[in-house]
Amino acid sequence: MLHQDDISLVFGGAAGQGIQTIADALVTVLKNNGYAVFSCQEFMSRVRGGSNSSQIRITSERRNAYVRKIDLLFVLDAEALDHLRWRIGEGTTIFAEHDQLGEEDRGRVIDTPLKEFAQKAGHPVYTNSVAVGAVLGVLGLGLEEFNDYLSREFESKGEEVVGRNHDAARLGYEFGVKSAREHHIDITLPTAAEDPASLLLDGTSGLGIGALMAGCGVVSSYPMSPSTGLLTFLAARGRRFGIVVDQAEDEIAAVNAALGASYAGARSLVTTSGGGFALMSEGVSLAGVTELPLVIHIGQRPGPATGLPTRTEQGDLNLALHAGHGDFCRVLLAPGTPAQAIKLMQRAFDIAESYQVPVFVLTDQFMLDSVSMLGDEEIVRLPLQRRVVKTGSDYERYRFTDDGISPRGVPGYGEGIVKVDSHEHDESGHLTENFTIRRKMVGKRLQRLGSLEQEAVPPERIGSDDAAALVVCWGSTRGVVEEALDILQDDNIAALHFSQVFPLHTGLGGMLEGKQVIVLENNATGQFADLLHAVTGRQADRRILKATGEPFAVEEVVEALKGGVAS
């Protein structure tokens, strides 16, 4: 069997069996060996048991997408094999302990006695180290990087634990080398051309780093998959960086606390998923009428209602776009990579503060949990500009101005007092039912939409300007579209990736003119295609949609685009 350029390794097992630990170790070791790597996870909504898998790709250039194919599959139980069976092809080499499997599968699977080796090293707890060692042996790589990794990881547990892990890794490694020879597994890896000092970042950490850079001061949230990672990222670093982290009693409390903190001058954040965000809708409306800055991260997962809690979808665009009663402005950003997450999180805080509006950052489970590689040069730090003014004794929070944005005072900073109100209010912030003031306040709140459109992040073009067809995508589908286009090598297809999905950039109509427009999104109806139509008047010629709870695989996008616009 021969594999090259693009290797897909998959680890399958039950929750709690450690496949994530194996994948985390391996992806780091491969990166340290100079390979371009990517990893993603799919898992069931349970604490123990079930059937989950992690994919690691070793590619000839940096990638950010899931592939269906599996070259080397390591399964820890029979259920995992069943779970992944549909992805097993002729080229798939499978490793598992035979006594875990049914009779009928044993002939197809290389018997891999992980537990026996672990026991030999001292304890079943060393199984993960055996497994990583075995993979490195099969791949024909050295064991040094992994030994270094184990020394670092287990340093605090003492020399004995480090030594036993080294033993376990060696036993697995020797088995891997032997298996590759005996079973004629001939793997040609892509060239190891990456800087081993590159970063490995998941989407969640990208958002977290962006929030740190932006000077986030308060985060209040209720845990909900897949958005909780951002809360834990900030909680782990809160004390050090002066971020107050409050776990709210519910999402309604979270958004109101974040707005209270924003009123008092902190840059504040909530992180949630669709169902939790549904509870925050009235708070979004409150942000609108009080003109308080707020950043809302929605890690999307498939609905309706509880849906598929641990799976992925881009199904909450319409929710974020329309949540909250009444008319007011908002901004929706949708990073497609960890690097974009870092940059757009900072932008979210900046726009929220400059324009005194709620800003959404839309991600999804696939994007949040996927680990990709990036260089330091891709990490952009935007200028941090606070816009809080010291109040004078005659300060009025909602003073009418030319651009509709009033200088933002906060309580306890200056001689003035600051009154914000969920009712319609006059310039001083007191409730009013005066129709003239109402008319002016509505205009004031909506006036900023023009500037927000001007300042919108333009879509990024991938491929040739002259292509006749444009694949329009947003958020997490950037990587899969880019890779599919690279594979197709068709000058007639290019892509437009939107990392801001509302408001859309004013120059957008021109970009679509004369093109065949194919909109690809990870939802059932084509929510962005509808938005595009509403804003530009341009109907998509074709929609490529997927709402199974899985991300798009590179293979299926290639297949779908082969047919061009017509199919």
Binding site: D246, A253, A266
Partner: protein, 289 residues
């Protein structure tokens, strides 16, 4: 005391065009007691934030010359918490009615007490929904008929004091709007208390509650005297459970508990352009190599 009566030289007074309350409403007296308490407590109005929800009681900060966050129905407490987390140096009062605090915001009431942030919670308790015109509130008495509860209220009333005490609230008191001086004094104690302080204030609604009138309240209440040991929680709970003779005054106080914002190490939010130091940021980034 007449409605709208000015107290001399109180910085919390506002030149008010129109008040949104009905003539004779208990809210006027609570407003006066609050402004008096704030002034006599020496609080700087620029360092005070009054957070409220929605309802007639929630309009109170509209009539106080101080910082105001008049938020959503039921949500005064989370917003007040947010203010406190961002600016622990400010004095924060959360004020609303029984419908807002005990009904729509009931969950927040429970957890605000558990958190014990330094917030003074004042609840105007008129045992009826005023702004929506006379439906039952969580504290309405069983049997009271309303346009919705046409056969009379069937639900057991919510007992805010017993709930607060059972959750470990360190300061629990009850006042009565009709008694201006006593109410002011209770407010002053609550404002001075470090930690969450809960003050339930009986408030006659002269339009919609014909049952719990000024007269009814004066006949059914009594003030705790010096023989009451305010540090005895069990005794306070016993008193709070008596629905015949309703005690007024401070039922319970327990000094010295650390507040939520202290436990979290919250500092006043940076308002200037304080950038995270490059080396600190680099350390975070390096952890992903």
């Amino acid at each position: 005391m007449k409605e709208g009566k000015k107290q001399t030289a109180n910085p919390f007074d506002m030149p008010q065009k129109k008040m949104g309350w009905c003539p004779g409403c208990g809210n006027y007296r609570i407003l006066d007691a609050l402004k008096g308490a704030l002034h006599e407590s020496g609080i700087d109005r620029r360092e005070l934030v009054i957070v409220s929800g929605i309802g007639q009681a929630a309009k109170t900060p509209q009539y106080v010359n101080a910082n105001m966050f008049n938020g959503l129905h039921g949500r005064a407490l989370p917003a007040a918490l947010g203010v406190k987390l961002a600016r622990p140096d400010l004095v924060v009062v959360a004020e609303s009615g029984d419908g807002c605090m005990y009904g729509e915001g009931g969950n927040h009431f429970l957890h605000a007490i558990r958190r014990n942030a330094d917030i003074t919670v004042i609840v105007h308790n008129n045992m009826v929904y005023g702004l929506t015109k006379g439906q039952a509130s969580p504290t309405s008495m069983v049997g009271m008929t309303t346009p919705v509860q046409v056969e009379g209220v069937m639900l057991e009333p919510f007992n805010p004091l017993a709930v607060a005490l059972s959750l470990g609230a360190p300061f629990v008191a009850r006042a009565s709007a009709g008694d201006g001086d006593q109410t002011k004094d209770i407010f002053k104690q609550a404002l001075a208390f470090k930690g969450v302080s809960v003050v339930d204030v009986f408030q006659p609604c002269v339009v919609f509650n014909k049952l719990n009138t000024y007269k009814w309240f004066s006949e059914h209440t009594f003030y705790l005297d010096s023989s009451h040991d305010v540090t005895d929680r069990t005794q306070a709970i016993r008193i709070s459970l008596d629905s015949e003779r309703l005690a007024l005054g401070v039922l319970y106080r327990h000094e010295g508990r650390e507040t939520y914002e202290e436990l979290l190490g919250a500092e006043p939010a940076a308002l200037g352009e304080q950038r995270l130091a490059d080396d600190e940021l680099q350390e975070v980034i390096n952890s992903f190599r």
